[in-house]
C-alpha cells in the first residue's frame, strides 16, 4: 500500500530557472523555487497535503488504494494509426520515467537550450505536488493484434455489454490506453496528462479527456465522506484501502487471471454519468431521500441510525412499506443484494459546461471503480435497471481498462506485458 512520504527536494529546479532567465523571464528569481514546492501548501488550505508525495513505485500502482485526492484529470488515448509495437513499447518506457519524475515533484525534463521548446510545459512550476498519482490502464482494443499483444489479452478485458440506462457517445467511450492523474491540485493533475500526451504525440492521440473536481468516494478510513452533485454523501459503504481482505477479494487481480502480467493490477471501469441536476433539484426532499435510501443531511440509511449504521433492508416504516424503498439506489446497489459483489469506487464530479441544446448544466458523476473482474461492475449495473435514480441520470460514456501492477525501481510500464 502506498502512502504519503516526505517530500523530496528537487535541486535541479534551479537549473530550469537559470535557463528561463536567460530567455528573458527575469521574474523567475525568488518565488518559483520548484515545480512542486511545499510553499503553496499552507495557503491552499490543505494542511500539509500539498507537500506530500505518493510513492510511484510499489507492488500496486498508486491511484487505486491511495486515499482519494480531490482532483482528477483522466485521459483516454488511442494509438496512432501509423505507430507500431516498438513505438508503443518505447513510449511506455518514456512515460514511466516521466511519471516517476512528476509524482516525485520533478519536471518532465530540464531546460537544455534556449532554442528548444521547453521539455516540460511548465504550468505546474511552483505548484505543490499535492499527492499526485498517475495510473496507467490498457483498453481491450490495445490487444486487437496491431501490436502483437493478442495473446496477452486478459479474458476478462472485454468492452462492457449493453447496460441499463445508457446512451453512449462514441466520443466518450473506449480507448486503447488511459491515464488517470489524481492530485489535490487541479493544475498538477492536468499538467501530468498534458505532458504525457505531449510525449506521446505521433504515437498516441487523445480520444477523450475529463477533468474531475471533488472526489465522490471515500477510500480510506481517515477520510470524511464527500458529497456528489446530488447533494448526498457518496461512498459511505465503499471498500476502504485498509480492508486488506476486501481489497484482495474484490480489487486486486491475483492468480485467477489468465495473464500473469496483470497479477497485482486491477480493472478500471469508467462511466460518464450525466445527472439532470435541474430536475433533481426540483424533487422534494422526502422523495430525493427515497430515491437514494438515505437521509440527505446526515447520510444515515432510512432504516435508522447514523451514517455508518448498516442499512436494514428488511426494516419497515410505520405505514408498513419498506423503510428503504424497493427501488432505492442503495438497496439495489448493495452487496447484500448482489451476492456479496463489491467494487472500489473512486469517482469525481465533473462538468462540461452547458448543454448546447437544452441550456442546462452538463455535468454529473465521472464514475471510476476498480475491481478484480469487470463482471463485478456489470452485475451491479444490471441490478440498477430499476433504480429510482435512473429518472435523473444517464450514462453517456464508458470504458474499461486493465491497470497493470505497480513497477519496481528500474522496471518500466510494459516490461511484463511485452516481455
Amino acid at each position: 500500500v502506498t502512502g504519503p512520504q516526505a517530500r523530496r527536494r528537487a535541486p535541479s529546479r534551479r537549473q530550469l530557472l537559470a535557463g528561463a532567465g536567460a530567455v528573458g523571464a527575469g521574474a523567475a528569481a525568488g518565488g518559483l523555487a520548484g515545480y512542486f514546492t511545499g510553499a503553496g501548501a499552507a495557503a491552499s488550505g490543505d494542511g500539509d497535503l500539498g507537500s506530500q508525495t505518493i510513492a510511484f513505485h510499489g507492488a500496486h500502482q498508486a491511484g487505486i488504494a491511495t486515499p482519494a485526492q480531490d482532483r482528477l484529470a483522466f485521459g483516454a488515448l488511442n494509438v496512432a494509426p501509423g505507430a507500431g509495437r516498438a513505438d508503443l513499447r518505447d513510449l511506455l518506457r518514456e512515460w514511466t520515467a516521466a511519471a516517476a519524475r512528476m509524482t516525485a515533484g520533478e519536471l518532465v525534463g530540464e531546460v537544455s537550450s534556449a532554442y528548444a521548446p521547453p521539455a516540460d510545459t511548465g504550468e505546474a512550476v511552483g505548484s505543490p505536488v499535492s499527492r499526485l498519482t498517475i495510473t496507467l490502464g490498457y483498453g481491450p482494443s490495445l490487444f486487437d493484434g496491431r501490436f502483437g499483444l493478442a495473446g496477452r489479452k486478459p479474458a476478462a478485458l472485454e468492452p462492457l455489454p449493453p447496460l441499463p440506462n445508457e446512451n453512449l457517445d462514441p466520443d466518450f467511450t473506449g480507448g486503447d490506453l488511459c491515464l488517470q492523474a489524481c492530485s489535490d491540485d487541479p493544475l498538477v493533475a492536468f499538467h501530468a496528462v498534458r505532458n504525457l500526451a505531449r510525449l506521446g504525440m505521433g504515437v498516441v492521440e487523445h480520444h477523450w479527456m475529463e477533468l474531475g473536481f471533488g472526489r465522490t468516494s471515500t477510500t480510506t478510513t481517515g477520510q470524511a465522506t464527500p458529497r456528489n452533485l446530488l447533494g448526498f454523501k457518496d461512498g459511505t459503504r465503499n471498500i476502504r484501502a485498509e480492508q486488506a481482505g476486501l481489497m484482495n477479494d474484490y480489487v486486486w487481480v491475483a492468480g485467477e487471471s489468465d495473464q500473469p502480467w496483470l497479477r497485482g493490477g486491477s480493472f478500471l471501469v469508467a462511466r460518464k454519468i450525466r445527472i439532470f441536476v435541474e430536475n433533481w433539484d426540483r424533487d422534494y426532499l422526502r422523495d430525493q431521500q427515497h430515491v437514494i435510501g438515505r437521509a440527505k443531511v446526515s447520510g444515515a440509511p432510512l432504516s435508522g441510525g447514523t451514517e455508518f449504521t448498516a442499512p436494514d433492508f428488511t426494516a419497515r416504516s410505520a405505514d408498513g412499506q419498506p423503510a428503504i424503498p424497493a427501488d432505492a439506489h442503495i438497496r439495489l446497489a448493495s452487496h447484500e443484494r448482489n451476492g456479496g459483489t463489491r467494487i472500489l469506487r473512486r469517482g469525481y464530479s465533473f462538468t462540461d459546461g452547458i448543454d448546447p441544446q437544452a441550456g442546462t448544466l452538463l455535468g454529473g458523476l465521472f464514475f471510476i471503480a476498480f475491481m478484480k473482474h469487470p463482471a463485478q461492475f456489470i452485475r451491479l449495473q444490471q441490478a440498477l435497471a430499476g433504480d429510482a435514480l435512473n429518472e435523473y441520470i444517464h450514462h453517456t460514456g464508458s470504458a474499461v481498462f486493465a491497470c497493470p501492477p505497480g513497477v519496481r525501481p528500474g522496471q518500466r510500464w510494459g516490461d511484463d506485458l511485452f516481455g
Binding site: 496512432a80 494509426p81 501509423g82 537544455s112 537550450s113 534556449a114 532554442y115 528548444a116 521548446p117 505531449r198 504525440m201 505521433g202 492521440e205
Partner: protein, 395 residues
C-alpha cells in the same frame, strides 16, 4: 519601406510569429539593395566589394578583404550573356549569397557576414566565370554563417521565398483577369491556385504585418471593420458567399499591388536557420489549427490545397536543412520524414481529380469532424517533431 512602422502596428496574427518577425525584420533592414548604408548593428568591420559583370568575368575588387559584414555591389556593365553574381564556397558546392536578374545597365547588392577562407565569385555565362575572393582575419558574426551547409540552406530558402512570392503575383494576376472579365467559374478555379503560393511562405510574409493583413486578413482579423477587410478573403467572401463580382476588380488590383510590395521586400530580406526552423513549425501549427478548423477558407471550403501548401513550405525548410540535420541529428530527421509521410498519406484520402474547384482535393466541408481529427493528429505529430529543429540550428 518602413518595416519598423509596419511591425509596430501589426496585430498578432499567430502566436509565436511576433518574435520571429522581429528577428527577420532586423536582418532585412540591414540588407536592402536600395539602401547602401546598411543599418547593421554593431560590427565595425563592414567592407565593400565591387563586382562588375562583363563578358569576360566578374573579378571582385578588392580580391582580399577582412572577415565580417561585407556588401557586394554588383553592376552589369555590358554583359548580355551574364546576369548574376554568386558568392560560392571554393568547391563551388554551395551558394552563400547572390544577386540575380541583372541585365546590362542594372545594378544590385547583397550583404552578408563572411568568415575567413577562400571563396569563389561566380558569374555563369562569362568566359571566365570564376574568380577567387580571399577573406582574412578572425571569424565574426553568428556561427552558422561559417557552416557551409547552413549557409547554403539559408540561401536556398531565400530563393524559395523569392520564387513563391513571384508565383503569387503572377497567379493572382491571372485570377484577377478572370475577376475583371466577370468570369465567376474561372475565378473560383484560380483563387486556390494563387493562395498556395502565399501559404508556403506565410511566416515570411508575416514579417510585414500590415501587408499580411492586407493580403491574407480575415474578417475578425484585425478589427472586424468592413473597410479594412481586403485581400484574398474578402474576394473569397464575395465570390462564394455573396455570389457577386461587384467591386471585386478594384479589390483584386489592390491585392496585386500589395503582393508586388511583398515581392520587392522579400527579394532583399535575409534569413537565418533559426528563423527558418521556427517558421516551419509555425506553418505546420497553422495547418493544424486554422486549416483543420476550416476557418481560413470558410467561404470557399478550399482548405485542403492550402493545408498542403503549409506542409510543403515547412518541408522545404527540412529539405534545405537536410544535409546539416543528417549529420547533427539523423534520428530527428528521419522522425520528421516519417511523420511527413504519414501526413501525406492521410491527406491522400481526400485527393480527387479534378477535385472541388479544380483543387485536386474534395471540398473541405465534406471532411467529417472525425476525419479532421485524424488529419490533425498526424499534422500535430509532425509539428511536435519539427519544433525540435530549432535547438539543432540555433546559435
Amino acid at each position: 519601406v518602413n518595416t519598423h512602422g509596419d511591425r509596430a502596428g501589426r496585430p498578432n496574427l499567430r502566436t509565436g510569429m511576433t518574435a520571429v518577425a522581429a528577428l527577420l525584420a532586423v536582418a532585412a533592414a540591414g540588407c536592402a539593395s536600395s539602401h547602401k548604408a546598411a543599418g547593421s548593428s554593431g560590427t565595425a568591420r563592414a567592407s565593400t566589394v565591387t563586382i562588375d559583370l562583363t563578358p569576360q568575368g566578374c573579378a571582385p575588387r578588392p580580391a582580399r578583404i577582412p572577415a565580417g559584414q561585407v556588401t557586394f555591389n554588383v553592376t552589369n556593365k555590358n554583359a548580355g550573356a551574364v546576369s548574376e553574381a554568386e558568392l560560392r564556397t571554393s568547391d563551388l558546392e554551395h551558394i552563400l549569397g547572390e544577386q540575380e536578374n541583372l541585365t546590362p545597365g542594372l545594378s544590385g547588392a547583397f550583404t552578408l557576414n563572411v568568415q575567413p577562407g577562400r571563396y569563389t565569385i561566380s558569374c555563369p555565362g562569362a568566359s571566365r566565370p570564376h574568380s577567387t575572393l580571399t577573406v582574412a582575419g578572425k571569424a565574426t558574426g553568428p556561427s552558422w554563417q561559417s557552416n557551409a551547409q547552413l549557409s547554403a540552406a539559408v540561401t536556398g530558402y531565400s530563393r524559395y521565398v523569392d520564387q513563391n512570392a513571384a508565383g503569387l503575383v503572377a497567379r493572382t494576376q491571372t485570377f484577377c483577369q478572370a475577376v475583371s472579365h466577370g468570369d465567376m467559374s474561372q475565378a473560383k478555379l484560380l483563387y486556390p491556385q494563387a493562395r498556395v503560393y502565399y501559404e508556403r511562405i506565410e511566416p515570411v510574409a508575416e514579417i510585414w504585418g500590415t501587408l499580411d493583413t492586407q493580403i491574407d486578413g480575415r474578417w475578425e482579423n484585425p478589427v472586424t471593420v468592413a473597410s479594412q477587410f481586403t485581400g484574398f478573403h474578402k474576394l473569397e467572401q464575395l465570390i462564394w458567399e455573396n455570389n457577386t463580382l461587384a467591386g471585386a476588380p478594384q479589390l483584386c488590383a489592390g491585392l496585386v499591388a500589395h503582393e508586388q510590395q511583398l515581392l520587392k521586400l522579400v527579394q532583399t530580406a535575409q534569413y537565418n536557420p533559426l528563423e527558418m526552423a521556427s517558421g516551419a513549425t509555425d506553418l505546420i501549427n497553422e495547418a493544424a489549427t486554422s486549416k483543420i478548423s476550416g476557418e481560413e477558407e470558410r467561404y470557399s471550403n478550399t482548405d485542403l490545397p492550402v493545408f498542403q501548401a503549409n506542409v510543403q513550405g515547412a518541408m522545404e525548410v527540412v529539405a534545405l536543412l537536410q544535409p546539416y540535420l543528417q549529420q547533427q541529428d539523423s534520428s530527428l530527421l528521419s522522425l520528421i520524414q516519417r511523420r511527413d509521410a504519414s501526413v501525406t498519406k492521410a491527406l491522400s484520402a481526400y485527393r480527387s481529380v479534378p477535385g472541388y474547384d479544380g483543387t485536386g482535393f474534395v471540398e473541405y466541408s465534406t471532411v467529417l469532424d472525425s476525419q479532421r481529427q485524424q488529419l490533425a493528429a498526424q499534422v500535430n505529430a509532425l509539428a511536435e517533431a519539427m519544433s525540435q529543429i530549432s535547438a539543432r540550428v540555433g546559435p
